[in-house]
């Protein structure tokens, strides 16, 4: 175990995997000097053919990842901010997500599209989207959102060797966060949730950057005698529905905390799954804590107000549990 920032956990993982597997290549804008630090030092170690700065050309970039992966490389395509995945969207949406299926499995496509996502730092509308629901809906893409340095390392290691395209989204607010990371080459299977806090009264499913405030809320509520079962799915595709259903069947109550805009969010989908599969266990309405359906504003007062946080999470839990009668709210 050693304590490191998430960004360093990612850097170390890229380094150790590239050292072992010469078919891993990495490219993106300024990956050599590295804006965030996650790819720093790799060019010096693995050379300019395997670690390459791209021109600002997201359209060709995402497609090059498809081409290189289709013919045998393991490709890490660093998109910097998740919003720039929109700029290079075609090859993710029309190619990467479909090529294996269209060709009846002739190929695998080991690509990791990396990017930073989410709000919280006044990066404003075009650098702050939480775009995981869009990628979930495309089919054929795995979607991974680590919440801790250890998960970032373990999930990224798996993602790199996964034979399918993986969208790997690191929360903007989490890169600098410290956490214990196991030493050595530890990997975490995709599709395995973790139970972050144990409790019997309500299930909280929190995604990515939302795990930390959800945990704080759970701890606070524990002191009030409210037991929160807090689940971090860690990957949304594949999704550990077993873990979620088990918890909801135990508690009978579900709140999903998701930094995405509300409409067709991961929170919507997890709610829908439980409204279908856990119906008879439900004691209360299923709630979503998400972001309103607007662009992310710049000013800290505005941004803070639209992102779920410890306060809004504890409130939502208290409100749900206070409901004596299940009167309809509109």
């Amino acid at each position: 175990m050693s304590k490191k920032r998430m960004i360093h956990a990612i850097n170390d993982t890229l380094d150790s995997e590239m050292a072992k597997d010469p078919s891993i290549v990495l490219f993106g804008e300024d990956v050599e000097i590295s804006l965030f630090g996650d790819t720093r030092g790799l060019k010096e170690k693995y050379g300019g053919e395997r670690v390459r700065n791209m021109p600002i050309s997201e359209t060709v970039m995402t497609g090059m990842a498809v081409g290189a992966a289709a013919v045998g490389q393991k490709v890490i395509c660093h998109m910097m901010f998740g919003n720039f995945m929109y700029t290079g969207f075609d090859s993710i949406a029309n190619q990467a997500s479909k090529l294996r299926y269209m060709t009846a499995g002739q190929i695998s496509l080991p690509i990791v599209y990396m990017g930073v996502f989410g709000g919280g730092r006044s990066s404003a509308a075009q650098h702050s989207d939480a775009m995981h629901p869009i990628f979930m809906n495309l089919g054929g893409l795995k979607v991974v959102l680590p919440a801790t340095p250890a998960d970032a390392a373990g999930l990224l290691r798996t993602a790199i060797h996964d034979p399918n395209p993986v969208i790997f989204l690191q929360a903007a607010g989490r890169g600098g966060e410290m956490g214990e990371v196991p030493d050595g080459d530890f990997a975490i299977e995709l599709g395995k949730a973790t139970k972050v806090h144990e409790g019997d009264d309500v299930t909280l499913v929190a995604i990515g950057a939302m795990v930390r405030p959800a945990l704080k809320a759970a701890q606070l509520l524990a002191a009030e005698g409210i037991g929160v079962d807090l689940i971090d799915p860690r990957s949304l595709v594949p999704l550990d529905t077993d873990a979620i259903f088990r918890s909801v069947r135990k508690t009978g109550r579900l709140i999903v905390v998701d930094e995405a805009r509300d409409m067709c969010s991961a929170a919507s989908h997890i709610s829908a799954l439980c409204a279908d599969q856990c119906f008879e266990a439900l004691k209360a309405p299923i709630r979503r804590l998400t972001v309103p359906d607007v662009a992310i504003p710049y000013s800290p007062t505005l941004e803070k107000a639209i992102l779920p946080n410890e306060g809004s999470i504890t409130n939502a839990v208290r409100t749900l549990l206070r409901k004596k009668s299940l009167a309809v709210e509109v």
């Binding site: 290549v25 050309s57 060709v60 498809v66 289709a70 294996r100």
Partner: protein, 330 residues
């Protein structure tokens, strides 16, 4: 009596081989045209008839270790690169025995075992994919090259500019082959395309050549030069091959288009320049072949196509229960 071409690479035998490859495309597609009219095909088909010299001339310089990407008009590239007629036919018929087991269809025929990354329904998408495959080829250092076939319409996708820039900077072994058939769907090229496409290489310092796309020998020679440069590490080339599609943009368009968009005279002028009879006449004139040689080939191809059709017709449609989601993830 002079030989058709002084280039000693073009023996009679080789030229007859090229003829055969062009004729195979022609006869397969004529059959598909008939099938389309008869309502036998599940989806739309875009035929390559008239442009065969481009695919065959370029692919004559390639092996199974080289890669190609293709377009919505992709049967010709598939066959020219060594794809099997029966597997193509079964795919377009939507059968279980098709090269993509019916999952892809006409616009997605691909055979990775032959270096065929595949046809593509997104105009311009193959450009970035081929560029990525060329990066992989460069990393593997086995001298493989990658070819992007695309149309004059596709040349207006910004991805071409992005690809020319990065491929030139990285000296990637990729050849961009623009098949300028005078139409971008139903729009005459000059209404949607400013300037000459071949000139688009110049600002990047990319090698470029323009060639008569109906002259198979000229195409093969031009491609050979470009491919040699690429294999030698001298980077990409943009080739503009001027040609014409003798059929419509999509089979059956007459039934739904309100107006004619090209002149009969134009079509018939180009029919006079049909690359297939043109090669035959030139060979006969040069004494490099006799009429019977071509009749012999015709007979062989007729049989091959008949076999392919029978193979496709006799094949079952895919069983959905056995297939759904089979190829979603590796």
């Amino acid at each position: 009596m002079t030989v058709l071409c002084e280039d000693t690479n073009f023996s009679s035998e080789r030229l007859l081989g090229l003829y055969r490859d062009m004729l195979r495309i022609r006869r397969v597609e004529e059959r598909l045209a008939k099938d389309s009219r008869a309502g036998n095909l599940p989806g739309p088909v875009h035929l390559y008839i008239g442009q065969e010299a481009v695919a065959v001339g370029v692919c004559a310089n390639l092996t199974d270790d080289d890669w190609i990407t293709s377009t919505h008009r992709g049967h010709g590239h598939f066959l020219a690169k060594g794809g099997a007629a029966d597997l193509l036919m079964a795919e377009v018929y939507g059968r279980e025995t098709g090269i993509c087991r019916g999952h892809g269809g006409s616009m997605h025929v691909a055979d990775f075992s032959k270096g065929i990354i595949g046809a593509n329904g997104i105009v311009g998408a193959g450009i970035s994919i081929a560029t990525g495959a060329a990066w992989a080829a460069q990393l593997e250092k086995k001298g493989a090259v990658s070819i992007a076939f695309f149309g004059d319409g596709a040349a207006n996708q910004g991805v071409l500019a992005e690809a020319l820039n990065v491929a030139t900077l990285w000296k990637l072994p990729v050849i961009f082959v623009c098949e300028n058939n005078g139409f971008s769907e139903f729009s005459p090229s000059n209404t949607v395309t400013a300037g000459n496409i071949v000139d688009r290489a110049k600002p990047y310092g990319t090698a470029h050549e323009s060639v008569d796309g109906n002259d198979i020998v000229a195409v093969a020679q031009t491609a050979s030069r470009a491919i040699r440069r690429a294999r030698n590490g001298d980077g990409p080339t943009l080739i503009e091959a001027r040609t014409y599609r003798l059929h419509g943009h999509v089979e059956g368009e007459q039934t739904f288009l309100g107006a004619e968009y090209r002149l009969e005279q134009e079509v018939s002028d180009w029919r006079d320049r049909d690359p297939i009879p043109a090669l035959a006449s030139r060979m006969i004139d040069a004494g490099q072949a006799a009429r019977e040689d071509f009749e012999h080939i015709e007979a062989e191809i007729t049989e091959e196509v008949a076999r392919a059709v029978k193979f496709a017709e006799d094949s079952p449609f895919p069983d959905p229960d056995a297939q759904t989601a089979n190829f979603m993830f590796a």
